[in-house]
């Protein structure tokens, strides 16, 4: 699927776009599967398969989808924790996906990540001071000793912890507190963009709200941009400015948050939204009535529209035609599958 919401230079002239901090184009990650007799290749898992999106300064873009859709992999590709198979990641105009590893360090200051699991994300043998201060040490920010310690204490207070926590160890903290430590660590190098990889889904609901509010406050104070990876649509609706819905490595729909929630077009998006638990905290979206079946095996991708085996409106044509991402309104794009594209007015922009 080719990117269509990607801003071409002409398009920029016709209608002014915001200043993109991050532009991702045709990003792909295929994991090889060993399985031959002598460890040869037996195929590949197309975890991320041509994804494009942009994030403006100070904006929160959410990537949503069921587990296995490639949203976390996308987050790691943006951070270059994984090497992309194809595509570009432009940060402030510079393609960091093709940058030599030695030059990557400068950008590491500006891009940070917060992980889902508050337990495995903190080194159990390091004090909080060393964990939060690691970025300072790596980038030689501040003076060793008292200066860095003061900076760390300040960071801890900013994320709602106490300066006295500097000398404690991760096991002495709760899940929510640990996530605050992770946030402090991410903030240490004063980044502009933070990838939040399901930052609250391992936490209790009451704690989730606190962390989300902290993230929002920090965004306001520091002008941060977030790439917010989540499967929890309630959380996404609360924090995101725009949402990209991913299915099997592709973006199937992308729109401003309220528009997406009010007027979903793609059957998969509709299914996801139908499945939102309204009054309880059941998080496994796919268990609800909105979607039937399981996400397909990404090593054995369905032909045509990848969603057709689960789509309630699937037609024979759906297994043949590859849907193209189509702009149906200036900021709303959808992978136009034959099963509904006849009802759309706009033409493919590509």
């Amino acid at each position: 699927m080719s990117a269509t919401i990607d801003a071409a230079p002409e398009a920029d002239l016709r209608e002014p776009r915001p200043d993109w901090l991050l532009e991702v184009a045709d990003l792909a990650k295929h994991f090889p599967i060993g399985g031959g007799l002598l460890g040869g290749l037996a195929g590949s898992v197309r975890a991320v398969d041509g994804v494009s999106f942009q994030i403006a300064r100070g904006e929160t873009l959410a990537l949503v989808g069921e587990s296995g859709c490639g949203k976390s992999t996308t987050g790691r590709l943006v951070m270059r924790l994984l090497e992309p198979t194809a595509g570009s990641v432009r940060y402030d105009g510079q393609d960091i996906a093709s940058l030599p590893k030695s030059r990557m360090k400068d950008y590491r200051k500006q891009l940070q990540i917060i992980f889902q699991d508050p337990y495995s994300s903190l080194d159990p043998r390091m004090s909080v001071g060393r964990i939060v201060g690691e970025g300072l040490a790596i980038h030689h920010i501040g003076q060793r000793g008292a200066d860095r310690r003061a900076r760390v204490e300040q960071l801890l207070e900013q994320v709602g912890l106490s300066a006295d926590d500097v000398d404690r160890f991760p096991h002495q903290f709760s899940g929510g507190q640990r996530q605050r430590i992770s946030i402090a660590r991410a903030l240490a190098t004063d980044p502009e963009l933070i990838v939040c990889d399901e930052p609250v889904s391992a936490l209790d609901v009451s704690v989730q709200a606190q962390i989300i509010n902290l993230l929002k406050d920090l965004q306001r104070e520091r002008g941060l941009s977030y790439l917010f990876v989540s499967h929890d649509l309630n959380v996404v609706r609360y924090i995101a400015d725009r949402v990209c819905v991913m299915y099997l490595g592709e973006i199937v729909e992308s729109a401003p948050t309220e528009e997406l929630f009010a007027d979903p077009v793609h059957p998969y998006t509709k299914g996801l939204l139908d499945a939102i638990p309204q009054f309880d905290a059941v998080r496994k979206v796919s268990e609800r009535a909105g979607l039937r079946g399981e996400i397909a095996d990404p090593s054995n991708m369905p032909t045509g529209c990848r969603f057709h085996p689960r789509c309630p409106h699937a037609t024979p044509e759906c297994s043949v035609v590859e849907p193209q991402l189509t702009e149906i309104s200036p900021s709303h794009s959808v992978a136009a599958c034959p099963c509904f594209s006849s009802t759309l007015v706009a033409e493919p922009t590509a």
Partner: protein, 316 residues
């Protein structure tokens, strides 16, 4: 020869969320060394409280160390001093553990023999810790072909029975204490490397390592400041059990004539001397063997209790 429970060798310690003992390398980049050493002291206290057998083992090890250190002052006779008038006399004769064919005092030889055993054990363990640990950490971190090559060599070395490999190397190098150390180091490096590799692979996949990468941390930082401290407990357990194995292996090699050369008072050599006279002088068999067993037992017990201490989830 490898009489220690091999499962303990293969077993690695999962690092739980519970309190962890502080690691040795921790102070390197640390601004708060005081806090860390306090924490380490706490861990020691907890070990003493919960693992009485481990403490007993440490006491035995300490006694052996002292005996080895002060051997010339403790031993009633010199290790090669011969008393022609008292050859092959039993323990009742004023020689507490009897004498051998040349009239040498068995007790004195055992006391001096502790030096050889502990020396070989220490050097072998430290050398294999450094070499094997480095190889394993690098292989586990880098992965790909480096890992495959290291892994294949480790597998190839591990499939020859340890004693046979030691004999082979010993035969090539000739009998001397230095050569025993070389042979036993070649033997124990693959074991240490295997554990370090597995641990590094496990640690590498954890989020805190990814977050260090995200911060721009170098591979060296990940290996030394995150990898090593987190695998240290497992490595210490393996090293402790390996120490016992090294002592047994030294004895076995000396017994076979490719280890410590005579007239040094190696315990294995003493057992080898005893084989002709075991019917008339059983003390020659009993006492050196008890010495070996006791020190090996102490190291095994210490390794065992340390593992239990670090991994309370294990049912035992």
């Amino acid at each position: 020869m490898t009489t220690t429970d091999p499962i303990s060798h293969e077993k690695t310690i999962g690092i739980g969320v519970g309190p962890q003992p502080a690691a040795d390398g921790e102070h390197q980049l640390n601004d708060d060394t005081v806090i860390v050493s306090e924490r380490r002291l706490d861990e020691v206290r907890r070990f003493v409280k919960t693992q009485p057998l481990g403490v007993a083992a440490l006491v035995i090890i300490a006694i052996f160390l002292l005996v080895a250190l002060f051997a010339p002052w403790i031993a009633p006779h010199g290790p090669v001093e011969q008393d022609r008038a008292a050859r092959l006399v039993g323990p009742e004769s004023g020689h507490l553990f009897g004498t051998d064919l040349l009239g040498r005092d068995v007790l004195s030889r055992i006391i001096h023999g502790a030096r050889i055993s502990l020396y070989v054990g220490t050097v072998t363990t430290v050398a294999s810790f450094i070499i094997g640990g480095t190889l394993g950490i690098v292989a586990g971190y880098v992965g790909r072909w480096v890992d495959a090559v290291v892994q294949a060599i480790v597998d190839a070395l591990l499939c020859v029975p340890p004693l046979v490999l030691a004999i082979f190397i010993g035969a090539l190098l000739g009998p001397s204490v230095r050569n025993v150390v070389i042979a036993l180091t070649i033997l124990s490096v693959p074991r240490m490397a295997r554990i370090a590799r597995g641990e590094m692979k496990r640690i590498r996949s954890l989020d805190y390592v990814e977050s260090t990468t995200a911060l721009g941390g170098s591979p060296l930082r990940i290996m030394l400041l995150h990898g090593l401290p987190n695998m240290l407990p497992s490595l210490i357990v393996v090293a402790s059990l390996g120490f016992g194995n090294a002592i047994i292996a030294e004895a076995a090699l000396s017994f076979l004539g490719v280890g410590t050369p005579p007239p040094n008072p190696s315990w294995g050599l003493m057992l080898s001397d005893s084989t002709t006279y075991f019917q008339i002088a059983p003390w020659l068999v009993i006492f050196p063997g008890v010495a070996i067993s006791l020190i090996v037992l102490a190291f095994n017990l210490f390794g065992d209790t340390l593992r239990d201490f670090l991994d309370p989830k294990l049912v035992r």
